[in-house]
């Protein structure tokens, strides 16, 4: 790319770890939120007086509320097992992007104020007081963590840097140093109901347009209902699905599946967003508020089931947190898990014969699959351990004849983040996003070169947006990225069941 101010990293021949380059990414930071982004979330508009002390107090508050934070800050032995596991370290060589070093940015303050050793011998145990330099480092490097949890897989104590970076971002929000991208989006959700700020008329318009397109394309009147009271299923999907390629092709796929299975469904304009960005900023209160829009929509519309569309972070919050945040779900049909993933629904229908797929429709493609980090390490699908790896692959294989796995060191629980997760999918972090995509791009290149892969499926709005944006930097076409339900959409046999 001609206009770029940074070098796209070269593919590494033997996947060697980069030599450390101190300060390599010390210039990278996202735009700081303005008062109008912070205040709607109840955060101070700008850096508060006495912020050094306020930060310590907030850390103390979080330590009392979250066992994980306390245990993780205490337990690290600096063994180094995580140091080569983060995609941002592999792509940048900046040592502060090694998970342990990132944790230490917060741990140094923790040790200074909450441990005896740090109070008595700060220099010995790396304990430091909060100052401008520390805050700057926090803002930069806690926004170079996509909270993908890859490091937590490899840590002998399961230390999850995501928990640490969420806590750090929560502390920063409480002293008035928010990240514009996430906070602006959250304010939009509270006001309008989705991250993109699409109001009801725009949604209605989009969905109507989809109905026309699909009918024109297939001759079948597939409905894309909005705010229909008494529908059986409330579909909650990332708002990107209403908006842009390749996301929207996935939404078309969901619609066709529901249509063909005879499932009565609706989208809600009030809860028209699956992705809960409050997770990125580590705010339980915000996450609770956003999640309860879904509860309200389900009650108002009188649905029996909740189904989530393809979205990684959304599915982590949905699968792992929604019951906590917005449950209990005793008013829904107990026959179905709450919530369900659209892939669970589709796979169930494929198995039961409720829908039929003709994989030949995708014979022009050779597929590979990118496990989205938050689905892989933050959730499950189906009723067996690891179902989140099995079900997407089963649906792909039912929709496409040619499927190739990438390097097993980069898939399933070891999958790499796309490089844009955790609140980093913003253009002010483009260099970080491009560099962080390196490990996935390398694995993709391998299957393109050796197996003629033409497309990579992903089940996350962030992965899809990130890949379409960064793949051209690596010489790949952005059209390679598809939703799984786009493949389903192409392969599904529409029409009366007896004709099929």
């Amino acid at each position: 790319m001609a206009d770029q101010k940074f070098q796209t990293p070269a593919f590494r021949e033997y996947r060697d770890n980069p030599a450390i380059q101190i300060g390599a990414m010390s210039h990278s930071q996202p735009f700081i939120a303005k008062p109008e982004h912070n205040e709607p979330l109840g955060f101070p508009g700008e850096l508060v007086e006495n912020w050094e002390q306020k930060a310590v107090e907030k850390l103390g508050d979080l330590l009392d509320k979250n066992r994980a934070l306390r245990v993780y800050l205490d337990s690290c032995v600096k063994c180094g097992a995580c140091t080569d596991k983060c995609h941002y370290f592999l792509g940048t060589g900046d040592p502060k992007n090694m998970p342990v070093a990132r944790q230490d940015l917060l741990r140094s303050l923790y040790r200074r104020h909450f441990t005896l050793a740090g109070k008595i011998f700060p220099g010995l145990v790396g304990a430091k007081d909060m100052d401008k330099e520390m805050l700057d480092d926090w803002y930069k490097y806690f926004h170079q963590c996509s909270q993908c949890r890859r490091c937590s897989v490899f840590c002998p104590y399961g230390i999850d840097t995501a928990e640490i970076s969420m806590a750090a971002r929560e502390i920063m929000d409480h002293i008035g140093v928010g990240q514009k991208y996430s906070n602006e989006i959250l304010a939009k959700v509270h006001k309008i109901g989705n991250n993109l700020g699409l109001p009801k008329p725009a949604l209605a318009d989009t969905l109507e347009g989809l109905e026309e397109d699909v009918e024109e394309d297939t001759g079948v009147a597939v409905k894309f209902p909005l705010d229909v009271h008494g529908a059986d299923v409330l579909l909650v999907t990332p708002s990107a699905d209403f908006f842009a390629e390749p996301h929207v092709d996935g939404l078309i796929g969901y619609g066709k599946v529901f249509h063909q299975a005879g499932i009565n469904w609706t989208v809600s304009s009030y809860a028209s967003e699956a992705a809960n960005f409050a997770m990125f900023i580590g705010s339980y209160e915000q996450m609770h508020k956003v999640a309860n829009r879904i509860r309200k929509a389900a009650l108002d519309l009188g649905v029996k089931r909740i189904v989530f569309g393809e979205c990684g972070h959304a599915w982590r919050v949905a699968y792992s947190f929604l019951n906590t945040l917005a449950g209990p779900w005793d008013f829904l049909d107990p026959k179905y898990p709450v919530p369900q993933h659209i892939l669970e629904v589709t796979n169930g229908l494929i198995k039961s014969g409720g829908i039929k797929l003709d994989a030949q429709a995708n014979d022009d493609k050779v597929l590979t699959f990118h496990d989205s980090c938050n689905v892989a390490r933050g959730s499950r699908m189906g009723d067996v351990e690891g179902g989140q790896f099995i079900i997407p692959r089963e649906v792909i294989k039912a929709s496409v004849n040619k499927f190739v796995e990438m390097d097993p060191q980069t898939t399933c629980e070891k999958t790499f983040c796309c490089g844009g997760g955790g609140g980093l999918l913003t253009d002010d972090l483009m260099e970080l996003r491009v560099k962080g995509a390196l490990p996935r791009m390398e694995a993709l290149k391998e299957v393109i070169d050796n197996h003629g892969v033409t497309h990579m499926a992903a089940i996350c709005a962030i992965c899809k947006s990130q890949f379409t944006k960064v793949m051209p930097y690596y010489g790949f076409s952005m059209d390679m990225v598809v939703s799984i339900h786009q493949l389903v959409s192409d392969a599904i046999q529409l029409g009366a069941k007896e004709e099929l």
């Binding site: 180094g80 399961g158 709450v338 351990e385």
Partner: protein, 246 residues
Amino acid sequence: MSTLSLIYAILFYAATALLVVGLALRIKLYATTPTPLKIPTMPAPLTKSGAAFRVFREVAFFESLFKSNRWIWIFAVLFHAGLALALLRHVRYFQADVWLIIELVQPFGIYGGMAMVAGLLGLWARRIVQERIRYISGPSDHLMLALLVLIGASGLNMKFLTRTDIIEVKAYFLGLLRFDIQNLPSDPALLVHLGAVAVLMIVFPFSKLLHVPGVFFSPSRNQVDDARDKRHLAPWAAPMDANREA
């Protein structure tokens, strides 16, 4: 009873009290701090016994470290397994009638001591040679290794080079158990060995050695994957539900 015997007696009583009380308080703190959300690193076991087995594999075999880095795993296993054997060998100093199992473990305890020191030296070498680990190492990380190596080396030294009167050492520790201070031999190797052990006991609850209780309390390892089936709610978070519109 010499002054030295008294000093070491006080040291060991104090170290034991700090270790036990310090660890107990820390464990209580871990146990009483809520877990607001279900955050097991997936894929995670679907049952409580499955999650317990996962933690057991982590503690007994360092499963995640095995996935992560084979060299660190080898050195870590050498050190920890060696330390476990050496500790078992030392149980005889606290038993008037030594259990059979402790008698049987005696020769392995010596190999354990060697393995322990070898593992520690391997870990230390990585800390110096491997630039990523060098970057994350602080003074306390080196000191902790130095302390453990000192314990292991001084112990091996007493086994193979400058022996001490272990009958007397045993009488001393049996005495400490019933608050009856006996005479402690004054060989330098023994005093270094015991002093270093006491220091280790004292720093245990205030250092990264908290990884020992920590691994049992790590939510990413000990939580069950059942979020959709059971509502998990922290006491501090529950009142928020009253504010929701629906």
